[in-house]
Symmetry: C2
Subunit: 252 residues, 2 copies
């Protein structure tokens, strides 16, 4: 794949390679996928609920989130995505989008036509299988979030979210597990956890008072004792289905 060093899709190969035993042709096929990189500014939409999506995208930099709006206008965030994530394999294959995807920060994405991905999956089943696995991991995270929002109290919910971030940012190479910058406001945290911004604020304060976290600025999270926060958040890395090396990070 020496002639592909420049492809913006390299992170996609890296992401998928874990699940499939790719040969050079598989890798080339991914890198050769037609795509167009695009800059999207903060709060820009990648997909809108009820619209038809024709492209999937690879997040090259920045953060994005999926969400739904319920009847009274409240927003529920369903997932956060970061550098290297394959966003919207979900919506694009099923036709009409069942949720919206929006950027949390300015972002750079590679837009890939849905049909090209479909062709790739059909012609190179190993790659198709790897993409399938990738969406299965997404689904696992959704399940954990159902449990988080459904059966944990505010304190545990927020701690859990902070742990998830900690690990995922580390794995994505975006910071240390014990010291990172939250890419979102307390209102976003509230919409992730099914709480109100006010209650999230109180909960963060409490976590701070308990010495589970400390904050230099309101968004910079430092975790003193990772295992203690994980306990508080009822956090078990299992659901992230990390590869060997990565889950080791959980033991700080």
């Amino acid at each position: 794949m020496s002639d592909h060093d420049e492809s913006a899709l390299l992170p996609m190969v890296r992401k998928l390679a874990y699940w499939g035993d790719f040969d050079a042709a598989d890798q080339s096929a991914i890198l050769d996928l037609p795509h167009r990189t695009k800059r999207i500014e903060r709060n820009g939409y990648i997909a809108r609920e009820r619209e038809t999506t024709t492209h999937s995208c690879l997040l090259l930099s920045g953060f994005a989130f999926r969400h739904k709006i319920v009847v009274d206008g409240a927003r529920q965030i369903l997932a956060i995505h970061m550098k290297g994530d394959l966003v919207d394999l979900q919506n694009s294959f099923l036709g009409v989008a069942d949720h919206s995807v929006q950027t949390l920060t300015d972002a750079l994405v590679a837009m890939i036509p849905r049909d090209a991905i479909k062709q790739l999956a059909l012609q190179r089943p190993r790659v198709g299988m790897a993409m399938w696995y990738d969406t299965l991991v997404d689904a696992s995270v959704f399940r954990e979030w159902i449990a988080n929002v459904g059966r944990r109290d505010a304190h545990t919910r927020v701690a859990h979210l902070l742990c998830e971030f900690s690990l995922r940012l580390k794995v994505a190479g975006l910071g240390k597990a014990t010291d990172y910058e939250l890419p979102m406001s307390q209102e976003h945290i509230a919409d992730c956890t099914g709480l109100t911004p006010v209650h999230v604020n109180r909960t963060l304060k409490l976590l701070e008072k308990e010495n589970l976290i400390s904050r230099r600025t309101s968004r910079s999270i430092r975790i003193g004792d990772w295992n203690r926060l994980a306990d508080a958040g009822d956090f078990d890395t299992n659901y992230l289905h990390l590869r060997e090396g990565e889950s080791a990070l959980a033991r700080v």
Copy 2:
């Protein structure tokens, strides 16, 4: 596929055929999948969190549910499955199960080895793609449940669940959309919606008083005006990604 008329896996062909343009060989390959049918009694486990799963299963009759237990022992139900559903494509591919799957009633299942499914997906990409789509729909339902549990009040949550059941039972050929038997206790409903059994009880009573539902016995649900219940439940069929004919059922 005339020589396969007896295969227990026929429902699997029917389920998947919608997503792929199968030829006779694809269909045969599915029907030829090695499998063993097995009877599981009520509350039996199909998979246990933290254990390794080697089989996926097709639910031939009865009901099943996925769930997680959180730290204080509370249970969160993640999904309900019924006749024809392909259960545990999720857990089995990712190795260690991140949640448990248990039957709600006595059930009959066809156990299919994970590796056989994997081989099928690699050798017949169209079938692989169809299975992928099937799990994407599961993921869509998970997302809706996050929103249900995270951002709707008890009244709306329960109404939403009743609507989802109504449609899915109808689609699975297990009852009329406006008159069906709930396969679960109020405690199960509570664990689906993140409420307590007591509050579920009160909510059902309220729905009854509002004439949104009526019950002959505690589990037989009759929906007077489907659209009114759907409004109360903030229910939009979109997330179920039903095929053409099926979503038409939504308009009763």
